[in-house]
């Protein structure tokens, strides 16, 4: 089959379609930089989706649990051995993703007789100042998106991950207007929950393209919060401890949401 270039392209595109279909139901994840660090937030009922990778690095993922687990362990292993042989300061998210994870995922995706990774991941690394925070999204085909400034847009201090491209884009559009850099923790929690709702509404089949109204978002959020638990974690900017990752309780977050 893959002797002919055209067949290979066709196989790749089938594979893309298949994976997109598999990932489409994944509950969105929002990661927002705020004054004291980086907040990861999602809603879910079943398995854990936010993980600690290293001292200053966290990960959120959607996809097949088996594949997420393999990639997560690989990332921890790479970061831990680097941190052990050199130092914790030498562990860098940019290197981890660009030189290790992305090539591996691209390789698996393009070897059409082997299984690809059914996973989409969002990483963040907390910096000493908000402008040093790094967000990286890695797709199942090894494609990388960052929060850095490109020719098309300014630097963002947030990143999202969702089941479909449209859903993710809408969340980004929402956060671009709603989320203020250097905001407070409470404001970040609210923005993250609303961004999640925006993404989730689209996955549930509401009209794409247009941002839903504020009332619709609030109502959707309220409905979902009644059913699902909040899963959240922060990477703290405070340099007094080496380990910055801390997972947050559902209860302590709910008390922040007044409406």
């Amino acid at each position: 089959m893959i002797e002919e270039p055209y067949r290979w392209v066709e196989a790749i595109s089938n594979r893309r379609e298949y994976i997109e279909g598999q990932l489409a139901s994944g509950s969105p994840i929002a990661a927002l930089g705020y004054h004291g660090g980086i907040l990861f937030l999602t809603l879910g009922q079943t398995r854990q989706k936010l993980f600690e990778i290293y001292d200053r690095i966290a990960m959120g993922a959607i996809g097949h649990p088996g594949d997420i687990e393999r990639l997560r362990l690989a990332a921890i292993e790479l970061a831990s051995t680097e941190g052990f042989t050199r130092s914790a300061a030498d562990v860098s998210l940019r290197r981890l993703v660009h030189y290790s994870l992305s090539p591996v995922m691209k390789n698996a995706f393009e070897q059409v007789y082997g299984p690809p990774y059914l996973a989409r991941m969002l990483f963040a690394e907390v910096g000493t100042r908000p402008e040093n925070d790094l967000f990286l999204r890695v797709e199942y085909d090894g494609e990388i998106a960052t929060n850095g400034a490109t020719y098309a847009r300014a630097r963002q201090d947030f990143a999202v991950l969702s089941g479909t491209r449209e859903s993710g884009e809408l969340m980004e559009a929402f956060l671009k207007t709603e989320h203020k850099p250097d905001s407070s923790f409470d404001a970040a929690v609210k923005s993250a929950l609303d961004a999640w709702s925006v993404g989730h509404m689209l996955l549930q089949g509401s009209d794409g393209k247009q941002l839903p109204g504020r009332d619709a978002i609030t109502q959707h959020r309220r409905e979902q919060l009644a059913m699902a638990a909040i899963e959240a974690a922060v990477l703290e900017r405070d340099g007094s401890t080496t380990i910055r990752y801390r997972s947050l309780e559902d209860k302590e977050l709910r008390s922040l949401i007044s409406d």
Binding site: Y54, L73, I76, E77, S80, F84, V104, T241
Partner: protein, 274 residues
């Protein structure tokens, strides 16, 4: 097609191996040396007391206090007078070392990374028993070097058990990796016989049990004990009065690890000891 070519290890699996074996697989840590290579001539040297230092730890009302002097020696030469032998392993654990510094610090580094690696991969904190055992295994892996007369390490491990029964726990080891849980106090290093005598006396006839001491009393006892050890042991610095170098004192409690600031130690020293 097969995933082993993709840069991850061949026997990569969800059941993560412990961190030292991961390091060995990648060639980042020397192999575990077992006692197989013991020869008669090395046996002669093997019990030389190379753990030249004094470390002490005891339970008091505020948790466990761990103190160590600052001197590092090579034979009868003092090579360093600001060595830190009381090392933080995680938020609630301290490993205090007597022995060959190169091996001891490497061991502490491996232990620190092992516990974090476990928490991150397994998504749960390692139990206190697991941590104690992990250090025991490192000591056992190192035992070949001990038999060859190099690399002996005799640590103390102090931690706070937040999971099974909330209380401070204290362990001491021998060079082979046997672990002993201490009820009241532990000491290691060349100055330890002196310190053990003092702590035993204080605990039984000192007016107050060690367990009932407040922080200031505990500090002054630790300083007095180290100073007494230094009186007869050249490898222990005690308190350097001219250089104003004080021992390292750390306290493990429910809240985590507190490193006592030098000016606080100096104040207690001036008032209660000097």
């Amino acid at each position: 097609m097969d995933r082993s070519q993709l840069g991850f290890d061949q026997n990569f699996s969800g059941a993560a191996a412990d961190f030292p074996s991961l390091l060995r697989r990648k060639g980042l840590l020397g192999p575990a040396v077992t006692g197989a290579m013991v020869q008669t001539e090395t046996r002669q040297r093997m019990w030389q007391p190379t753990e030249a230092t004094t470390i002490l730890a005891f339970k008091f009302s505020g948790g466990v206090l761990v103190a160590g002097d600052r001197r590092a020696t090579a034979g009868s030469t003092v090579v360093y007078d600001r060595a830190d032998k009381v090392l933080e392993i995680d938020r609630h654990s301290i490993m205090a070392i007597a022995g060959v510094p190169a091996t001891a610090w490497e061991m502490a580094r491996v232990l620190e990374h092992s516990l974090q690696y476990f928490r991150r991969t397994q998504l749960q904190e390692m139990s206190v028993d697991g941590k104690v055992r992990a250090l025991s295994k490192l000591l056992r892996d190192n035992f070949g070097f001990v038999m060859q007369g190099v690399g002996v390490v005799v640590p103390i491990f102090a931690t706070y058990d937040g999971i099974s029964k909330p209380e401070a726990r204290l362990y001491f080891y021998d060079a082979m990796g046997a672990q002993f849980e201490a009820t009241d106090y532990a000491a290691t290093g060349s100055g330890s016989p002196t310190v053990r005598g003092i702590l035993y006396y204080e605990n039984n006839w000192g007016g107050k049990r060690l367990y009932d001491l407040n922080e200031e009393e505990a500090m002054s006892l630790a300083l007095r004990a180290l100073d007494t050890a230094a009186e007869s042991d050249t490898a222990t610095a005690g308190v350097d009065r001219t250089g104003k170098i004080y021992p390292v004192i750390k306290i493990v409690s429910r809240e985590g690890i507190a490193t006592l600031p030098e000016n606080k130690i100096a104040a207690v020293f001036k008032q209660m000891v000097a």
